[in-house]
Protein backbone atom coordinates (compact mmCIF):
# COMPACT_ATOMS: atom_id res chain seq x y z
CA UNK A 1 0.00 0.00 0.00
CA UNK A 2 1.34 3.41 -0.91
CA UNK A 3 1.14 6.02 1.82
CA UNK A 4 -0.64 9.21 0.83
CA UNK A 5 1.90 11.87 0.07
CA UNK A 6 1.01 15.47 0.78
CA UNK A 7 4.39 17.04 0.06
CA UNK A 8 4.27 20.42 -1.68
CA UNK A 9 5.79 20.70 -5.18
CA UNK A 10 9.07 22.55 -5.63
CA UNK A 11 7.46 24.92 -8.14
CA UNK A 12 4.37 26.72 -6.85
CA UNK A 13 4.17 30.06 -8.74
CA UNK A 14 1.78 31.68 -6.20
CA UNK A 15 4.72 31.52 -3.79
CA UNK A 16 6.86 33.78 -5.94
CA UNK A 17 10.26 32.82 -4.57
CA UNK A 18 9.84 29.28 -5.97
CA UNK A 19 9.93 30.56 -9.54
CA UNK A 20 13.70 31.01 -9.77
CA UNK A 21 14.64 28.43 -7.16
CA UNK A 22 12.68 25.30 -8.02
CA UNK A 23 14.74 22.85 -10.11
CA UNK A 24 13.31 22.36 -13.59
CA UNK A 25 15.12 19.14 -14.48
CA UNK A 26 13.72 15.84 -13.35
CA UNK A 27 15.09 14.72 -9.99
CA UNK A 28 17.00 11.43 -9.93
CA UNK A 29 15.08 8.59 -8.32
CA UNK A 30 17.44 6.32 -6.42
CA UNK A 31 16.74 2.96 -4.81
CA UNK A 32 16.01 3.74 -1.15
CA UNK A 33 19.07 1.94 0.21
CA UNK A 34 21.39 4.17 -1.84
CA UNK A 35 20.25 7.38 -0.22
CA UNK A 36 17.02 7.42 1.76
CA UNK A 37 17.98 4.67 4.19
CA UNK A 38 21.43 6.01 4.85
CA UNK A 39 22.00 6.92 8.46
CA UNK A 40 20.87 10.47 9.16
CA UNK A 41 23.22 13.20 10.30
CA UNK A 42 24.74 12.67 13.73
CA UNK A 43 23.43 15.92 15.18
CA UNK A 44 25.22 15.46 18.50
CA UNK A 45 27.35 18.51 17.78
CA UNK A 46 24.28 20.76 17.99
CA UNK A 47 24.26 21.97 21.60
CA UNK A 48 21.04 21.36 23.56
CA UNK A 49 20.80 22.67 27.12
CA UNK A 50 17.95 21.91 29.52
CA UNK A 51 16.65 25.51 29.45
CA UNK A 52 16.56 25.65 25.64
CA UNK A 53 12.98 24.33 25.53
CA UNK A 54 11.57 27.29 27.49
CA UNK A 55 11.64 30.32 25.19
CA UNK A 56 10.07 32.52 27.91
CA UNK A 57 13.07 32.25 30.24
CA UNK A 58 16.01 33.16 28.07
CA UNK A 59 16.25 36.76 29.30
CA UNK A 60 15.99 38.72 32.55
CA UNK A 61 12.26 39.39 32.18
CA UNK A 62 9.23 37.64 30.71
CA UNK A 63 8.34 38.22 27.07
CA UNK A 64 5.10 39.97 26.13
CA UNK A 65 2.36 37.90 24.58
CA UNK A 66 0.20 34.89 25.23
CA UNK A 67 2.22 32.18 26.99
CA UNK A 68 1.66 28.75 25.40
CA UNK A 69 2.85 25.16 25.70
CA UNK A 70 3.63 23.36 22.43
CA UNK A 71 3.84 19.62 22.73
CA UNK A 72 3.40 16.45 20.72
CA UNK A 73 4.98 13.18 19.64
CA UNK A 74 7.47 12.48 16.92
CA UNK A 75 6.70 9.19 15.16
CA UNK A 76 8.32 7.23 12.33
CA UNK A 77 6.61 5.85 9.24
CA UNK A 78 5.46 2.80 11.21
CA UNK A 79 3.93 4.94 13.96
CA UNK A 80 6.72 4.19 16.43
CA UNK A 81 8.16 6.94 18.61
CA UNK A 82 11.37 8.57 17.42
CA UNK A 83 13.36 8.79 20.64
CA UNK A 84 16.02 11.31 21.59
CA UNK A 85 15.91 13.11 18.29
CA UNK A 86 16.68 16.81 17.96
CA UNK A 87 13.79 19.25 17.56
CA UNK A 88 14.67 22.86 16.70
CA UNK A 89 12.06 25.64 16.66
CA UNK A 90 12.10 29.33 15.78
CA UNK A 91 9.42 31.98 15.48
CA UNK A 92 8.42 35.64 15.47
CA UNK A 93 7.52 37.43 18.71
CA UNK A 94 3.97 38.32 19.75
CA UNK A 95 4.09 41.43 17.54
CA UNK A 96 5.04 39.41 14.45
CA UNK A 97 8.70 40.44 14.42
CA UNK A 98 11.72 38.13 14.20
CA UNK A 99 14.96 38.91 16.01
CA UNK A 100 16.70 38.06 12.72
CA UNK A 101 18.43 41.15 11.26
CA UNK A 102 16.96 40.27 7.84
CA UNK A 103 13.46 41.06 9.20
CA UNK A 104 12.57 44.71 8.53
CA UNK A 105 8.88 44.61 9.53
CA UNK A 106 8.25 47.78 11.60
CA UNK A 107 6.84 45.97 14.62
CA UNK A 108 8.58 46.13 18.01
CA UNK A 109 11.29 43.73 19.07
CA UNK A 110 10.86 42.28 22.57
CA UNK A 111 14.05 42.52 24.65
CA UNK A 112 12.86 39.45 26.57
CA UNK A 113 12.24 37.21 23.59
CA UNK A 114 14.63 35.66 21.09
CA UNK A 115 12.30 33.04 19.66
CA UNK A 116 14.65 30.06 19.16
CA UNK A 117 14.54 26.78 21.09
CA UNK A 118 15.83 23.21 21.00
CA UNK A 119 15.03 19.97 22.76
CA UNK A 120 15.45 16.22 22.41
CA UNK A 121 12.40 13.95 22.33
CA UNK A 122 11.97 11.69 25.38
CA UNK A 123 11.65 7.88 25.53
CA UNK A 124 8.12 8.05 24.10
CA UNK A 125 9.04 10.51 21.34
CA UNK A 126 7.48 13.50 23.14
CA UNK A 127 8.73 17.04 22.74
CA UNK A 128 7.61 20.06 24.79
CA UNK A 129 8.28 23.78 24.45
CA UNK A 130 7.06 26.75 26.45
CA UNK A 131 6.86 29.90 24.36
CA UNK A 132 4.54 32.75 23.45
CA UNK A 133 2.08 32.74 20.58
CA UNK A 134 3.74 34.35 17.55
CA UNK A 135 2.01 37.18 15.72
CA UNK A 136 1.08 37.35 12.04
CA UNK A 137 3.33 39.47 9.85
CA UNK A 138 3.28 40.97 6.36
CA UNK A 139 5.52 39.81 3.52
CA UNK A 140 5.98 41.05 -0.01
CA UNK A 141 4.86 37.99 -1.96
CA UNK A 142 1.80 39.83 -3.31
CA UNK A 143 -0.26 42.89 -2.37
CA UNK A 144 -1.39 42.79 1.28
CA UNK A 145 0.16 39.38 1.89
CA UNK A 146 0.27 38.26 5.55
CA UNK A 147 1.69 35.05 6.96
CA UNK A 148 -0.56 33.21 9.41
CA UNK A 149 0.98 32.77 12.86
CA UNK A 150 3.41 29.85 12.71
CA UNK A 151 6.35 28.18 14.41
CA UNK A 152 9.19 26.73 12.33
CA UNK A 153 10.20 23.17 13.21
CA UNK A 154 13.35 21.28 12.18
CA UNK A 155 13.75 17.54 12.88
CA UNK A 156 16.35 14.93 12.01
CA UNK A 157 15.11 11.42 12.75
CA UNK A 158 17.08 8.24 12.10
CA UNK A 159 17.67 8.34 8.34
CA UNK A 160 18.58 10.84 5.66
CA UNK A 161 15.01 10.60 4.37
CA UNK A 162 13.59 11.49 7.79
CA UNK A 163 14.92 15.04 7.74
CA UNK A 164 11.99 17.44 8.01
CA UNK A 165 11.83 21.22 8.12
CA UNK A 166 8.30 22.56 8.26
CA UNK A 167 5.93 25.03 9.94
CA UNK A 168 3.20 24.53 12.53
CA UNK A 169 0.07 26.68 12.34
CA UNK A 170 -2.61 27.54 14.91
CA UNK A 171 -6.23 26.35 14.69
CA UNK A 172 -8.80 28.90 13.58
CA UNK A 173 -6.30 31.36 12.12
CA UNK A 174 -8.26 33.41 9.55
CA UNK A 175 -5.12 33.92 7.42
CA UNK A 176 -4.66 30.21 6.72
CA UNK A 177 -6.81 30.03 3.54
CA UNK A 178 -4.91 32.98 2.02
CA UNK A 179 -1.37 31.74 2.58
CA UNK A 180 0.43 30.55 -0.59
CA UNK A 181 3.04 28.67 1.43
CA UNK A 182 0.48 26.46 3.19
CA UNK A 183 -1.71 26.38 0.04
CA UNK A 184 1.19 24.80 -1.86
CA UNK A 185 -0.04 21.55 -0.28
CA UNK A 186 -2.86 20.77 -2.67
CA UNK A 187 -4.85 18.40 -0.45
CA UNK A 188 -6.75 19.84 2.55
CA UNK A 189 -5.85 16.70 4.53
CA UNK A 190 -2.19 17.52 4.08
CA UNK A 191 -2.68 21.15 5.16
CA UNK A 192 -4.57 19.96 8.26
CA UNK A 193 -1.51 17.93 9.26
CA UNK A 194 0.32 21.21 9.86
CA UNK A 195 -2.35 22.74 12.12
CA UNK A 196 -1.99 22.11 15.85
CA UNK A 197 -4.98 21.31 18.05
CA UNK A 198 -5.94 23.13 21.22
CA UNK A 199 -5.21 20.70 24.07
CA UNK A 200 -7.37 21.38 27.14
CA UNK A 201 -5.82 18.43 29.01
CA UNK A 202 -2.31 19.86 28.81
CA UNK A 203 -3.40 23.47 29.32
CA UNK A 204 -2.20 24.59 32.75
CA UNK A 205 -4.75 26.46 34.92
CA UNK A 206 -3.92 30.09 35.62
CA UNK A 207 -0.77 29.77 33.51
CA UNK A 208 -0.73 28.75 29.81
CA UNK A 209 -2.82 27.38 26.94
CA UNK A 210 -1.50 24.23 25.33
CA UNK A 211 -1.42 23.13 21.70
CA UNK A 212 -0.72 19.58 20.58
CA UNK A 213 0.95 18.78 17.29
CA UNK A 214 2.22 15.31 16.37
CA UNK A 215 4.87 14.91 13.70
CA UNK A 216 5.45 11.90 11.46
CA UNK A 217 8.88 11.52 9.87
CA UNK A 218 9.59 9.47 6.78
CA UNK A 219 11.60 6.33 7.16
CA UNK A 220 11.81 3.72 9.85
CA UNK A 221 13.99 3.35 12.88
CA UNK A 222 14.24 -0.43 12.64
CA UNK A 223 16.32 -2.51 10.26
CA UNK A 224 14.58 -2.21 6.91
CA UNK A 225 12.56 -5.29 6.03
CA UNK A 226 10.67 -6.09 2.86
CA UNK A 227 7.04 -7.08 2.95
Amino acid sequence: MTEPDFEPPYLFPDYRATQLRAPRRELVRLPDEWFHHRRGPAFGRVPVKAGDSDLTRQHSGEPLGERIILTGRVLDGDGRPVRHTLVEVWQANAAGRYVDPVDTHPAPLDPNFTGAGRCLTDDEGNYRFVTIKPGAYPWRNHRNAWRPAHVHFSLFGPQLASRLVTQMYFPGDPLIPFDPILSSIADARGRDLLVAKFDPGTTEPEWALAYRWDIVLRGRDATPSEG
Binding site: Y10, R21, F35, G44, A116, L193
Partner: protein
Amino acid sequence: MTVPTPSQTVGPFFGFAMPFEGDAHAVAPGSDGAVRIEGQVFDGAREPVPDAVLEVSDGQQFARCGTDAEGAFHFTVRKTPYLDVLVLARGLLRHLATRMYFPDTDLSDDPLMRLVEPERRHTLVASATKGGLRFDIRLQGEEETVFIQL
Protein backbone atom coordinates in the same frame (compact mmCIF):
# COMPACT_ATOMS: atom_id res chain seq x y z
CA MET B 1 -2.53 6.82 10.42
CA THR B 2 1.12 7.57 9.93
CA VAL B 3 1.11 9.90 6.97
CA PRO B 4 4.40 11.82 6.83
CA THR B 5 4.07 15.43 7.95
CA PRO B 6 4.53 17.63 4.88
CA SER B 7 7.43 20.03 4.46
CA GLN B 8 7.32 23.83 4.43
CA THR B 9 10.04 26.29 3.52
CA VAL B 10 12.73 27.16 6.05
CA GLY B 11 11.86 30.79 5.19
CA PRO B 12 14.26 33.72 5.28
CA PHE B 13 14.51 34.20 9.06
CA PHE B 14 16.43 31.16 10.32
CA GLY B 15 19.76 32.96 10.71
CA PHE B 16 19.27 33.65 14.43
CA ALA B 17 18.20 30.11 15.23
CA MET B 18 19.87 27.40 13.12
CA PRO B 19 23.56 28.35 13.37
CA PHE B 20 25.58 26.97 16.28
CA GLU B 21 29.16 27.41 17.33
CA GLY B 22 31.52 25.69 14.93
CA ASP B 23 28.61 24.50 12.81
CA ALA B 24 30.49 24.53 9.50
CA HIS B 25 33.37 22.43 10.80
CA ALA B 26 32.73 18.69 11.08
CA VAL B 27 36.42 18.51 12.01
CA ALA B 28 38.74 21.23 13.28
CA PRO B 29 40.25 23.33 10.47
CA GLY B 30 43.91 22.43 10.06
CA SER B 31 43.54 19.06 11.78
CA ASP B 32 44.94 15.92 10.20
CA GLY B 33 43.03 15.09 6.98
CA ALA B 34 40.79 18.15 7.18
CA VAL B 35 39.56 19.47 3.82
CA ARG B 36 38.02 22.89 3.27
CA ILE B 37 35.10 23.04 0.83
CA GLU B 38 33.87 26.35 -0.54
CA GLY B 39 31.05 27.12 -2.90
CA GLN B 40 28.12 29.32 -3.82
CA VAL B 41 24.42 28.71 -4.35
CA PHE B 42 22.84 30.29 -7.45
CA ASP B 43 19.23 30.64 -8.59
CA GLY B 44 17.77 30.34 -12.10
CA ALA B 45 18.79 33.95 -12.93
CA ARG B 46 22.39 33.08 -11.91
CA GLU B 47 22.01 35.34 -8.90
CA PRO B 48 23.52 34.24 -5.59
CA VAL B 49 21.07 32.85 -3.02
CA PRO B 50 21.82 34.67 0.25
CA ASP B 51 19.18 32.93 2.37
CA ALA B 52 20.01 29.25 2.05
CA VAL B 53 21.37 26.88 4.64
CA LEU B 54 23.27 23.73 3.69
CA GLU B 55 23.87 20.57 5.67
CA VAL B 56 26.45 17.94 4.76
CA SER B 57 26.79 14.50 6.30
CA ASP B 58 28.25 11.07 5.71
CA GLY B 59 26.77 9.15 8.63
CA GLN B 60 29.57 10.15 10.99
CA GLN B 61 30.27 13.75 10.10
CA PHE B 62 27.70 16.53 10.17
CA ALA B 63 28.08 20.23 9.42
CA ARG B 64 25.74 23.12 8.69
CA CYS B 65 26.42 26.47 7.05
CA GLY B 66 24.16 29.37 6.06
CA THR B 67 25.00 31.28 2.88
CA ASP B 68 26.22 34.90 3.01
CA ALA B 69 25.28 37.87 0.80
CA GLU B 70 27.25 36.29 -2.09
CA GLY B 71 25.48 32.96 -1.66
CA ALA B 72 28.76 31.58 -0.36
CA PHE B 73 29.20 28.73 2.10
CA HIS B 74 32.14 26.74 3.42
CA PHE B 75 32.71 23.48 5.28
CA THR B 76 35.61 21.68 6.90
CA VAL B 77 35.32 17.90 6.75
CA ARG B 78 37.47 14.82 6.89
CA LYS B 79 38.10 13.32 3.46
CA THR B 80 35.54 10.72 2.43
CA PRO B 81 34.36 9.43 -0.99
CA TYR B 82 31.30 11.69 -0.93
CA LEU B 83 29.02 13.81 1.23
CA ASP B 84 25.25 13.89 1.16
CA VAL B 85 24.16 17.52 0.85
CA LEU B 86 20.81 19.02 1.81
CA VAL B 87 19.86 22.52 0.62
CA LEU B 88 17.22 24.52 2.47
CA ALA B 89 16.20 28.04 1.44
CA ARG B 90 13.47 30.58 1.20
CA GLY B 91 11.56 29.59 -1.92
CA LEU B 92 12.23 25.88 -1.45
CA LEU B 93 8.99 24.41 -0.13
CA ARG B 94 10.90 21.20 0.48
CA HIS B 95 14.64 20.85 0.93
CA LEU B 96 16.73 19.59 -1.97
CA ALA B 97 19.14 16.68 -1.73
CA THR B 98 22.28 16.14 -3.73
CA ARG B 99 25.66 14.54 -3.34
CA MET B 100 29.15 15.97 -3.51
CA TYR B 101 31.86 13.55 -4.67
CA PHE B 102 35.47 14.25 -3.87
CA PRO B 103 37.42 14.80 -7.10
CA ASP B 104 39.54 11.65 -6.90
CA THR B 105 36.68 9.26 -6.08
CA ASP B 106 36.45 6.40 -8.60
CA LEU B 107 33.06 6.93 -10.23
CA SER B 108 33.31 4.25 -12.93
CA ASP B 109 31.04 1.88 -11.03
CA ASP B 110 29.06 4.38 -8.96
CA PRO B 111 25.34 3.50 -8.80
CA LEU B 112 24.16 7.12 -8.66
CA MET B 113 26.35 8.27 -11.52
CA ARG B 114 25.01 5.45 -13.71
CA LEU B 115 21.53 7.04 -13.40
CA VAL B 116 22.72 10.52 -14.39
CA GLU B 117 23.18 11.69 -17.99
CA PRO B 118 26.95 11.87 -18.65
CA GLU B 119 26.83 15.60 -19.47
CA ARG B 120 25.35 16.40 -16.03
CA ARG B 121 27.64 14.23 -13.89
CA HIS B 122 30.18 16.98 -13.30
CA THR B 123 27.61 18.94 -11.25
CA LEU B 124 28.08 16.32 -8.53
CA VAL B 125 31.88 16.45 -8.36
CA ALA B 126 33.88 19.04 -6.42
CA SER B 127 36.92 20.53 -8.10
CA ALA B 128 40.33 20.92 -6.52
CA THR B 129 41.50 24.45 -5.78
CA LYS B 130 44.60 25.85 -4.13
CA GLY B 131 43.06 25.87 -0.66
CA GLY B 132 40.85 22.79 -0.86
CA LEU B 133 37.73 22.05 -2.89
CA ARG B 134 35.11 24.06 -4.76
CA PHE B 135 31.48 22.91 -5.09
CA ASP B 136 28.80 25.25 -6.47
CA ILE B 137 25.10 24.50 -6.44
CA ARG B 138 22.80 25.75 -9.20
CA LEU B 139 19.16 25.38 -8.22
CA GLN B 140 17.81 25.95 -11.72
CA GLY B 141 18.71 26.65 -15.33
CA GLU B 142 21.82 25.93 -17.34
CA GLU B 143 24.21 23.66 -15.45
CA GLU B 144 21.44 22.87 -12.94
CA THR B 145 22.80 20.62 -10.20
CA VAL B 146 21.54 17.04 -10.23
CA PHE B 147 19.14 16.64 -7.30
CA ILE B 148 17.85 13.44 -5.77
CA GLN B 149 14.13 12.70 -5.41
CA LEU B 150 13.30 12.48 -1.71
